[in-house]
Symmetry: C2
Subunit: 155 residues, 2 copies
DNA sequence: TATTGTTATACTCTATAACTATA
DNA sequence: TATAGTTATAGAGTATAACAATA
């Protein structure tokens, strides 16, 4: 009966030292925090964050090939195969023959995928809002801006 | 406040839809971004982010038991066993018999662990600084503050 | 030759559950 | 009975490398 509890940022009486000064550690903790409710809420659909991302991207960019999806998501092609396999098994996505290239498949959501994605997105947005509801609107906007700017800094 | 012309880690010509409005998605991307260089820099030591966190926490709170470490890190006890096994195999940490409880172990860094942790922390802080160097000092402070505030919001 | 999708394999991180030895 | 550590097992998520079919 191990119980991983919910992640707590700081256990009282414990020294965290340099971890407290690292922005990377704060980002990581925030990510865990934001994902917790998110993952729980999506469990009934068999959906995880990467699967959700793939569904959104394919829904808005129908006809994508697996290699393109992998590139967009920043993962290996073999990872895209596994992702699409899972979504296909859930009945949310399908491989359609690509007319212009017999090696490739065009990805598309199934009708069930389109219907459920709308409801899943509603839940996701609701959870996202709930988690950040302790920040003022200005703070939410500023946090989003700074996170995007962080990602935009070149190597 | 928001900067619509800010570069986003997007593949040109691809629609991201709702993902762009989710703070959780921005946090996730930022976390991946911050961890990239971090993971690469630590590879020579056999150290990963969770292993690094465990080393820092044990170094500052010597005598912790595995169950306490698991609780502090927000993972299951079985995960703490694997973590400590790996650090013990690397020669960085050791289980010492707990005088007051023959079931338990007191965790401590080895001399090598203490020496290497100082150098590892230097690299980690350097990478952390490098990644956020595109933000002004005020922006870095504000981002850190908002991330901590996000984690502090009760469920 | 190069590319597309696939498979095989491996590693990290995480989980739950059952076990042991103590408490 | 409860707790500390362990082991067994599983499942995501990721990677690299090799392969067949096609370009």
């Amino acid at each position: 009966m191990s119980d991983p509890d919910l992640f707590v940022a700081h256990v009282p009486g414990i020294q965290y030292g340099v971890l407290d000064s690292l922005l990377g550690y704060a980002v990581r903790r925030a990510q865990i925090r934001v994902y917790e409710a998110f993952i729980l809420a999506l469990e009934p659909w068999g959906i995880t964050p990467p699967r959700y991302s793939a569904m959104v991207i394919v829904s808005l960019n129908p006809g994508l090939k697996l290699t393109q999806l992998a590139k967009i998501m920043g993962i290996a092609r073999s990872g895209a195969v596994i992702l699409v396999d899972a979504l296909e098994e859930l009945g949310y996505m399908e491989r359609q023959p690509a007319p212009e290239d017999r090696r490739a498949f065009s990805l598309a959501l199934t009708p069930k995928g389109r219907t459920d994605l709308a409801r899943i997105s509603a839940v996701v947005q609701e959870q996202d809002q709930r988690v950040i509801s302790g920040l003022s609107t200005a703070e939410q906007t500023e946090l989003h801006r700074l996170l995007l700017k962080l990602c935009a800094i070149p190597d």
